[in-house]
């Protein structure tokens, strides 16, 4: 229920954004954040971006996800 995933903003239209994670594109609502820009990494929960992540923070989470992916052999 608390699941949130990092994703990168690729396009912004008003308060909505297209965000991408590992090739998957989703919609996210940006109204809970101020000043988010294209290229920013954000943490997305149930369709809402809840926090900005630095590239390094996002990278760490992605590496952990990829490591599990390797071990488990299942798609994220």
């Amino acid at each position: 229920m608390c699941l949130a995933m990092p994703a990168q903003i690729v396009e912004i239209t008003g308060r909505r954004a297209q965000v991408t994670l590992l090739g998957n594109v989703r919609q996210a609502d940006l109204s809970l954040l101020e000043g988010a820009e294209v290229g920013d990494w954000v943490l997305v929960h149930a369709g809402f971006a809840i926090e900005r992540l630095s590239q390094e923070d996002a990278r760490q989470t992605l590496e952990l996800l990829a490591a599990i992916d390797d071990h488990a052999g299942t798609a994220v």
């Binding site: 609502d29 149930a46 369709g47 809402f48």
Partner: protein, 336 residues
């Protein structure tokens, strides 16, 4: 080196699931016990709310939008899944946004969004209600069952469970900030560590907690620094307080906890499904033998419930702890 038994509680369904899935429990030394608390918002939805949700679902002309893990929660005689088979229009959504979009597309139908979740989820719902209000949407309302986690942590401590430390929820803390646990930590001398969701995060947080316990350092600390900032997300919290008031709420297994739930402010009453539709007050009735309440308080582990793996399985859940994949019992059943 600590010899005495240490009980660490997590209060986040995603932590329950992560710990179960990674087999962390089996890696712990024998004196460290990982206990699951009331961290699954689906699991702590009151029986009374569940019955009222089922009444809503049965209304002709009404479309109920819900997160997936509510669908199989058993009421006394039915569930959303059963109602769907009987013809109710129930749509599983990933985001509350989809309910707003649906209301716009299907203006002949009354749309209700089932608003369940802790502080990670409720600001998004608040934002959505503001958007619906701004757009003058007339066919959308919300059954509000949102709850707040810190009052539940306090209720667990007051209820006699011996807890030596908390793994605090990572994404709730993105919103409320790590300071939210400080008062509790100091008052009850129980350190709290805000924890991420990967096994490495949980292990690191357990080490941090043990250090605090050994050194007698109650307080709130952050392991999940890559997402959790001091002060949390103020904008999200302000949006939440613009739309919702804090109220007393009934938690399955824990009873009524003061100031632990959300209710719509009077300005948004027309978005309140409980005001819009006649919904009787329903008493909460626990199914006989079900010990979900004790499991949620961390008083017993799932295998100590007499129904565990007998009458109560993920396929045939008796209580919500078994239904949601984040429930303690479901996680224990699946991962051992």
């Amino acid at each position: 080196m600590i010899a005495r038994p240490i009980r660490i509680m997590e209060v986040c369904g995603t932590h329950t699931h992560a710990i179960g899935r990674s087999g962390l429990r089996s890696l712990m030394p024998p004196n460290i016990e990982l206990v699951s608390g009331p961290g699954c918002p689906v699991c702590v939805t009151s029986q009374s709310d569940i019955e009222r949700i089922l009444i809503l679902a049965r209304r002709p002309g009404l479309t109920l939008c819900t997160f997936g893990d509510m669908v199989r929660v058993p009421g006394l005689t039915s569930s959303l899944e059963r109602e769907r088979s009987a013809g109710a229009d129930i749509r599983v959504v990933y985001s509350a946004m989809e309910a707003l979009e649906l209301a716009g597309r299907e203006d002949g139908r009354e749309v209700v969004f089932l608003a369940v979740g802790f502080e990670t989820t409720s600001p998004g719902v608040a934002s959505l209600i503001l958007q619906a209000d701004h757009q003058g949407v007339a066919n959308l309302s919300f059954f509000i069952s949102h709850k707040l986690i810190v009052p539940a942590m306090e209720a667990v401590l007051q209820g006699g469970s011996r807890i030596d430390g908390f793994l605090a929820p990572g994404h709730v803390s993105v919103i409320i900030g790590p300071e939210a646990y400080e008062g509790l930590a100091i008052r009850y001398s129980v350190p709290c560590v805000v924890t991420g969701f990967e096994p490495a995060d949980v292990l690191e947080a357990i080490v941090m907690l043990l250090d605090c316990i050994v050194e007698g350092r109650p307080g709130s600390f952050v392991q999940y620094a890559r997402a959790v900032k001091p002060g949390g997300n103020r904008r999200a919290w302000e949006m939440l307080t613009r739309v919702f008031d804090i109220t007393d709420a009934e938690w399955r297994g824990l009873g009524v906890i003061p100031r632990s739930g959300l209710t719509l402010k009077p300005a948004f009453t027309r978005f309140d499904a409980a005001e819009r539709y006649p919904l009787p007050e329903m008493p909460s009735v626990q199914p006989p033998g079900c010990r979900c309440g004790d499991v949620l308080r961390g008083l017993i582990h799932p295998p100590e419930c007499p129904l565990f793996r007998q009458e109560c399985t993920p396929r045939n859940p008796v209580g919500p702890c078994m239904v949601s994949s984040e429930g303690s019992c479901a996680a224990r059943y699946t991962y051992g």
